[in-house]
Symmetry: C2
Subunit: 506 residues, 2 copies
């Protein structure tokens, strides 16, 4: 047996760490999708034990020595080593007592938040949230010192490397300007159109389940390595060779079940397409949450909600559920599934106003981390900010600052990923359209494969060898910018007359 | 924070080890019940990683020091410490290279066995099995030296502490004598009776699923802490607060689905009734596989297949599936679900002949471990032994020595547990009947709760504080013996005339 080099030992160590992470990922899926309620306490202990093991393996003294000594032999190994050092630095920066205090405070606050949201009673959760916020600030300061980033950037870096607050702030400011003009125009146009008709159910859930499975498969999901289940909040989890996606079904409307499956399938295709030669190594992982979101959104928003794809879906729906063909033609499905409306709830928001929800959260969480906004002042700041961005004020905190789990479970710096992902998706789609002939013809057959093949090369197969901006540069010749997303929104929501010609018969 | 004693540190260490084991148990359930086929390779790695972590924590140098120094403060702690030392001694005895070689050889052999069994071709698996056997002998020798037990006893000790080969051999020899007389008598009696009628399906699987769930719940299974799913081979797994049981459904016959659920519910009730104050500690675990099997069999064989319980079940079945009431009356259900027949396959065997299948395996595996039977000679020895015990010879090795996974995946010393469990179940039931008035009246209402309450006190709540014989002594005033089991079999299968009077109307 040849003696391992420092790099080889590190690779073995990180594969083991990743394998522990896979166990946690599977148990997380189980908890959300199938676990009986009484299993929760033991599951918490199991996940905590795995997190400790993860941490211990990463911070073992031998790891530090090998990280100092290791020599990469190619570009992939070089990227891998950079990512290993980065993971080590992040873990090492955090004092063990802060990590432990965070785990307790976050879990405690999250539980109180569930009740507070139900009762629209922010005061109830405020003291717990204050503690979460203080500990998050403490952790951010420690990370900041180690990484040489601002405290908020250090948090954002945990979800998406390679893009900083200043870039995000500039992109978001530009979007706010765009929205101020575009939103009233879209609303005015929509108001002049006949209201789209919503197919009336019931749509039996077993039929929806089969349909959702067929659609995911048609999009390219390999069910030899995946499952589709049900959970209260749709998500994608599991591992590269065993992806678990979920959705939820309503008997009276198939829309949410299908769109969630399509969205999660985008995430799952990314996982299945990661470079398997680097499986379980940092360089073989997804390149961050914004890139992940770009892959769900390019499938859901860019491809699936296009006229061409909805044309295919419409006939599929009509075959499945019967009823009036007019309900399922693109002229109805398009306006129905791309309706724009100012809404208090982020997860219900349309493509155009969604970024406003994110922009608000980005600004508030930065201020909370910088210490310029306190937990006590959050509801007021939220409502003012929402009014300024979308011109409406939430009637209560359940429809305002209590709606998302993120802050209450200690997640800060994640929100920008949603909108950076939407922008990246548009940018990637624009490049793909320029490079792949007849993409809409394929979409019209319900065929995602030409786009998927392109994403396999330009995004999935890259793993984490490149970061967000570098991926975009090699695929689209530009770093992340707003242009393609704006053009996409103008084309889809403000150029309705021109698009009518592209409509085909059912 | 008070400083932990050596005992306290050990308790923390073993809780952590048990929590890692819970992760493995859940992932094992997932693999058998829901995992897509392509997830198998990664799952193997995940389970192997958890096994290594388990082993490392158990054998850490600090564990040895604490085991030497620890002082228990009561009877439970004393038992706990004994079990910890025992677990440590077993783990320490096995050289790491043997453990690793076993993991590979067992997994390899098991895979070849699957094909060999399908093709009834023992020669194919023989070289792989030879390797498994050699490594098992090596491991048994190492355990034998450390524990001061014979090599075969050292293996059996891994599944059921506190009973040795000599006791088992004596019990089995006595059973063989009993069977030689009883089996022809039962067959003769059965031959004079009209053949029982089998209800004709189809019995829709969703209806069977609901029924099985209802039955498990009725038996006392708490579904806030349990799931019932489907798998190729029914089993019980998961953890104390999140038990996972499985069954399999045939549309044409509900028998196997129901009986598997009842059997696995017996196992699950035991897990749910273990002393929660000692959760995740060795003393809080089940007291071995024979005791575990006694708990599934007391529920399935002793209680559920009794005339009284079948009377309740019959009306339940008639309500559920309709049809002729005569099909579901005890006079038909009893003979149908307690039919005795010489059969080549252990898992299909009836209560009376099942021990013969186990006795054969016990003798053969002892001889293989002692070195007096080689892998090459196994098929011949199997067929001779089967002929001697049950008077029939398997037509091929698929119906002979290839039928069970056990030896081919390296499991030796487990088989006796099945029949020791059956004997213990009869012994416990006899004691329970003597102590609980009107047990059959409760069974006739489909009510297991008086028996369950008794088992909670005398078996479940004891955990591993006592071993098999000590549990039986405190519950029945006798160590394990054959008497109660023989009386049960005589009563059920050889006293048919007397029993007719106990039959009630449907």
């Amino acid at each position: 047996m040849t003696k391992l080099t420092a790099y080889g030992r590190l690779a073995a160590r990180f594969r083991r760490i990743a394998t522990i992470g896979e166990c946690a990922s599977m148990l997380g899926w189980d908890a959300a999708a199938v676990m009986p309620p009484g299993g929760g306490a033991a599951r918490g202990d199991q996940l905590a034990a795995l997190a400790v093991l993860h941490h211990e393996h990463l911070l073992a003294p031998e790891a530090a020595a090998d990280l100092a000594a290791a020599e990469p032999s190619d570009e992939w190994e070089a990227a891998n080593l950079r990512l290993m050092r980065h993971a080590y630095a992040r873990a090492k920066a955090l004092p063990a007592d802060v990590v432990e205090a965070q785990a307790k405070a976050n879990s405690n606050c999250e539980q109180v938040w569930r009740i507070a949201r139900k009762q629209a009673d922010y005061k109830q959760v405020q003291p717990h949230f204050s503690e979460v916020l203080n500990l998050t600030r403490e952790a951010a300061a420690a990370l900041s010192a180690e990484l040489g980033l601002s405290p908020y950037d250090a948090l954002m870096d945990g979800y998406q490397r390679g893009i900083g607050t200043d870039d995000v702030a500039a992109l978001f400011a530009a979007y706010e300007d765009f929205l101020a003009t575009a939103l009233p125009q879209v609303e005015e146009y929509q108001a002049r159109q006949p209201a789209p008709m919503r197919p009336a159910g019931p749509f039996p859930i077993p039929v929806q389940q089969n349909l959702c499975r067929d659609i995911a498969q048609r999009l390219g999901l390999d069910f030899a390595h995946a499952r589709l289940d049900e959970s209260a909040h749709p998500f994608s989890g599991g591992t590269q060779t065993d992806v678990r996606i979920t959705t939820r079904y309503l008997e009276e409307d198939f829309t949410s079940a299908i769109l969630a499956v399509v969205h999660e399938t985008g995430h799952a295709l990314y996982e299945q397409g990661l470079p398997s030669a680097y499986a379980r190594l940092p360089v073989g992982e997804a390149a961050g949450m914004a890139v992940h979101e770009s892959q769900s959104l390019i499938v859901e928003m860019q491809a699936f909600r296009s006229d061409a794809f909805l044309g295919w879906l419409g006939s599929r729906l009509h075959t499945t559920f019967g009823g009036e063909p007019e309900l399922y033609c693109t002229e109805n499905m398009g306006p129905l599934w791309r309706h724009v409306e100012r809404n208090f709830i982020r997860v219900d928001a349309d493509e155009l106003t969604y970024p406003a929800h994110v922009i608000l959260r980005f600004r508030l969480e930065r201020a909370m981390i910088d210490g310029t906004l306190s937990a006590a002042d959050l509801p007021g700041a939220w409502n003012d900010g929402f009014q300024a961005l979308l011109g409406i004020t939430p009637p209560d905190d359940a429809k305002g600052c209590l709606q998302d789990i993120h802050w209450y479970d200690g997640t800060f710096g994640y929100f920008p990923s949603y909108t950076l992902g939407a922008m990246a998706a548009a940018q990637l789609m624009q490049a793909a359209r320029a490079q792949i002939p007849d993409l809409d013809t394929a979409f019209g057959r319900g065929d995602l494969s030409p786009l998927l093949a392109w994403l396999r090369v330009h995004v999935h197969g890259v793993g984490s060898r490149l970061d967000l901006n570098a991926i975009l540069e090699q695929a689209t010749r530009h770093k992340l910018d707003l242009r393609a997303f704006q053009e996409h929104l103008r084309e889809r929501y403000l150029n309705m007359a021109g698009r009518a010609e592209a409509r085909g018969p059912l």
